[in-house]
Amino acid sequence: MIFEYQIEGGDFTKAGSASSEVKKILRQLNLEPSLIKRIAVAMYEAEVNVVAHAYRGTMTVDIDTGRIFIAVKDEGPGIEDIEKAMTEGWSTANEKVREMGFGAGMGLPNIKKNADELKITSTPGTGTKVEITCFTRL
């Protein structure tokens, strides 16, 4: 099963709506609650990153026996130094975003903590792709 969602950069009123939709689907599939929780956190953070940093993006969720794969691809400024971006507390979010309680530099570390596999590829000036895999217990 493949689901695709559009994410609008800068539109915080809808941030998290794609993740909420996917979570509902995962619950209907009766997946383990702890797995659903991990996926929910990881994809929410990836979704918010697009809203906070990029112009627009898509979230593709591929649900298969054995694993859930989520790809969040955006058109945006990209990440200059991925290793640095993975550091807890490091963020390039602007003041407005921070005032809302985002931009704590916890997004990518939260994704890493909750994903079984995480791959980030980015071209500065073009965009970023975050690929998250979580395995289901067989």
């Binding site: 915080f12 009123t13 998290g16 993740s19 956190v41 929410y44 918010v48 809302m100 309680g101 570390p109």
Partner: protein, 117 residues
Amino acid sequence: MNIAEIADRLNFEIVCGSTGKNNMVTWGYTSDMLSNVMGNASEGNLWITMQSHKNILAVALLKELSGIVLVNGHRPDTETVTQAEKEGVVILATDLPAFETAGRLYQLLKENEDIQS
């Protein structure tokens, strides 16, 4: 303890999402950083914050928190209230600052724990 009992004992106003007033509160969590809550709060926690915009709802839903307490007299905007009603996220409000809100909630939950054990 559930949300309604806590609201009653600590004099918190139930602003919206009262369908969630019977949610059991496992513990509390205080933070104004959304990612911090996403990373560290647990299911059933009552979240104490001064953030009152719509995004707190997605956090509460995705983390399956029991509810949200807005401190320092903050109230949710109309959009947040409408969405909270729709999603069944209960939002409480108090004029107390976060420190005192957390302190009172901690004491109440601890007392209740002692009674039950």
